[in-house]
């Protein structure tokens, strides 16, 4: 079980824990929820969305400077 994380310029494959939500993932990578929009397989999703095997998660930084 794994998923792909695209965060800005960085792209990596990560092992997938059970019931990993977008919110938990953002906490883990220390990215404040209010400054990003997250896409799962190309679609915008909310923070409660659960990541599935082979998903591609893209973190798009929309707010800078505070």
């Amino acid at each position: 079980m794994q998923f792909t994380l695209i965060n800005g310029e960085k792209k990596e494959t990560k092992p997938l824990k059970k019931n990993l939500t977008i919110k938990k993932l953002l906490d883990e990578i220390e990215t404040p929820l209010e400054t990003v929009v997250v896409k799962k397989n190309g679609e915008i999703v909310i923070e409660e969305e659960i990541i599935q095997d082979e998903d591609i998660i893209e973190v798009i930084h929309i707010i800078y400077g505070g």
Binding site: P32, E34, T35, V37, K39, E43, I44, V45, I46, E47, E48, I60, H61, I62, I63, Y64, G65, G66
Partner: protein, 316 residues
């Protein structure tokens, strides 16, 4: 979890302040409707207005251009765009290209004007001179000078800026905390200029949270420049932005209530603090100004002095 408007299962936003959950289509519609409603309700734009968007290529100005285009297509307004090249290496060029692309796609008039051509100084040169004020102060004053002059030359009756709810909340708090009551009275959905040479400025996104503007741009698949300005990092505004973001986590309505409260006291504030100064024309550039020299010209002289002094010190 279903969209509260249409029952669709895939939702892209949950609004903590209202409990609403929306799918992509309903979200896009809700933003467009809200902005157009605010424009009507506050009479920001009238039929026949010639509207100039201050188009940086960032998410806010791209969003407001996209929404106003619906009025342009229905021939309710004329639409044009102005982009300012402040001269920030490695940051501005991509945004300018994006701005130009959007203007071209809509088939609207577009002017790109640089600090260098207007003041013979880029923002990089200003900041390299080790000036006494922060980058945002210089940039704001010089940018406003260019936008107003260019909009007037293009025959615009309104200037539109992309200020969102976060920007507006930050401005209210900053000016309040600094005791800057004069500036506070000027915050609002539109300006009421004291001179015909100032074009009226309006902020149609003033009640849309910054994050929702970001979601809108991505939901609509609009190209926008998301990078942060390299000079904005240490500003007081950035500190206030952080405080408001932290507060909003447990108090999701805090920005709305700050804005609502401010708009109520502003009426009284304006009565007490109407500045009542006489506008004349700047003796250097001829633009309207409260003093003999407008702030843009004052700043340019200040910086030129700095540059001379630096050269002198380097040589001796």
């Amino acid at each position: 979890m279903k969209c509260t408007r249409c029952d669709k299962a895939e939702i892209i936003i949950e609004r903590k302040h209202s409990g609403q959950r929306l799918c992509i289509e309903c979200f896009i519609l809700s933003i467009q409707k809200k902005v157009l409603k605010d424009i009507r309700k506050q009479k920001l734009i009238e039929k026949g207005d010639r509207v100039a968007v201050a188009l940086s290529g960032g998410k806010d100005s791209v969003t407001v251009l996209d929404i106003l285009n619906s009025l342009y297509e229905r021939k309710i307004i004329d639409l044009m765009a102005i982009t300012i090249d402040e001269g920030i290496q490695g940051y501005r060029d991509e945004a300018i290209q994006i701005a130009a692309k959007h203007a071209q796609q809509l088939g609207i008039k577009h002017r790109i004007v640089s600090f260098k051509e207007c003041f013979n100084l880029s923002l990089d040169e200003i900041m390299a001179s080790d000036p006494s004020r922060g980058a945002c102060t210089y940039c704001g004053v010089l940018r406003r000078w260019i936008i107003n002059k260019t909009a007037r030359e293009m025959g615009a009756t309104k200037i539109v800026t992309g200020h969102n709810l976060d920007d507006e909340t930050q401005s209210i708090l900053m000016n309040y905390l600094e005791g800057n009551i004069d500036n506070l009275t000027r915050i609002g959905a539109r300006t009421f200029p004291a001179s015909d040479n100032f074009v009226v400025k309006i902020k149609p996104l003033r009640e849309i949270p910054e994050k929702e503007v970001g979601i809108y741009v991505l939901a609509r698949n609009l190209e926008a420049h998301f990078a942060g300005c390299p000079y904005s990092r240490d500003s007081f505004r950035a500190e206030i932005a952080q405080i408001v973001k932290d507060l909003s986590k447990n108090h999701p309505t805090i920005m709305y209530s700050t804005l609502r409260g401010f708009d109520k006291i502003k009426i009284a504030l304006k009565k007490e603090y109407s500045p009542g100064f006489n506008l004349k024309n700047c003796i250097n550039c001829g633009e309207p100004s409260a003093q003999k020299l407008c702030r843009a010209c004052l700043f340019c002289r200040e910086i030129e002095k700095h540059i001379h002094r630096n050269k002198f010190n380097a040589n001796y």
